[in-house]
Amino acid sequence: MLNFFTPALVLLLQEGGRIAQMKQSALNPDLSKFLVIGALLFIIGVAGVLTRRNIIVIFMSIELILNAANLNFIAFSRYLQETGSANALAGQIFTVFVIVVAAAEAAIGLGIVIALYRNKETIWVDEIDLLKW
């Protein structure tokens, strides 16, 4: 439950009085927590894109990435509503469009996968390396 991966953790730990603060902030998650969650999701998605062989799974990892971005948008939208910005709902609007794009991209991408599968009989990405030297 603690954010181990804060690079400034070392520096923060040097200031011992921060522990209580950290507990406090853990009990009352606010914007930063949302952002952190989004960041983690994003990175997991990136790892999946880079690592998996199955092209469908790569696509799903891409969906994860887009979701993480959506989460960021929504979190900021909420935050801005509370801090009184006039255009706070822009985040949610943007999310709608992200979802639209994600859907379109998924459709096209999966069409490509199907065509690729019909021609190459494979879904393993590392077997589709024709554009090499």
Binding site: P7, N28, D30, I44, I56, R78, E105
Partner: protein
């Protein structure tokens, strides 16, 4: 927007669920498992949306993303034969070097992003300082003006109303463009996923290509439309 109480609890539950599901999406052997884990991740994120007072978007996420996109994914998974993978004979991860490099990069990214978020939020705090109590007070003050739902158990938020206002007033052009985009996507996907026979019968194959393909698939000749 400090969450407190049950909201905090649910936040942590759904947050960890989303992360965990995402992790498993990436690490599952079976593609269908992967898809299912992704669905759960998406649903968790939708819950997080609700916690962030974006109920409309949560609904859209469930309906469109989960109900449309993920179903499409599942269809495609089924179309594509993943038998070998299921039986565990195939390697699901790339070669070692790629994986190692990816992990290193991702770890570095984690460090960087987290540091950035902390730093940024510290700045935001300085900009708009707010404590938990003041935040809760503001929230309740806001919600007091909401209408009550039919069952009188909760208030009806203004989120959908707000999204609709913004979307059709200020974002109407992007909205229309998005619809065109969807149209293009539809056409594209239909065209991309055509089979050879479908193309031949629609007279979309060039004669040289047809000649080559007829060697492989003699029935293509029957499908040839009469030239006028």
């Amino acid at each position: 927007m400090t969450l407190s109480g049950y909201e905090a609890l649910f936040f942590w539950i759904f947050a960890l669920a989303a992360i965990f599901a995402g992790l498993l999406t990436v690490m599952a052997r079976n593609a269908v498992h992967s898809a299912l884990f992704l669905i759960s991740s998406l649903v968790s994120v939708a819950a997080l949306f609700v916690l962030a007072r974006a109920e409309f978007i949560a609904g859209v996420q469930i309906l469109v993303y989960v109900g449309g996109v993920m179903v499409l994914f599942l269809f495609v998974i089924m179309l594509v034969n993943v038998g070998a993978e299921e039986r565990g004979h195939e390697e699901i991860f790339n070669n070692q070097r790629q994986v190692a490099a990816s992990l290193i990069f991702c770890l570095l990214l984690v460090g960087g992003v987290l540091y950035a978020v902390n730093k940024g939020y510290a700045g935001l705090q300085r900009l708009h300082p707010t404590t938990a109590d003041t935040a809760a007070q503001q929230q309740s003050a806001r919600e007091s003006s909401y209408a009550t739902s039919a069952t009188a158990a909760s208030k009806i938020t203004k989120d959908a109303e707000g999204v609709g206002n913004s979307l059709y007033r200020y974002a109407s052009l992007p909205f229309e463009i998005a619809s065109v985009l969807l149209l293009v996507a539809i056409i594209g996907s239909v065209m991309l996923a055509r089979t050879l026979r479908q193309e031949a019968s629609a007279d979309d194959l060039g004669p040289e290509v047809l000649k080559v393909e007829i060697v492989n698939d003699p029935e293509l000749a029957n499908l040839e439309p009469q030239s006028e």
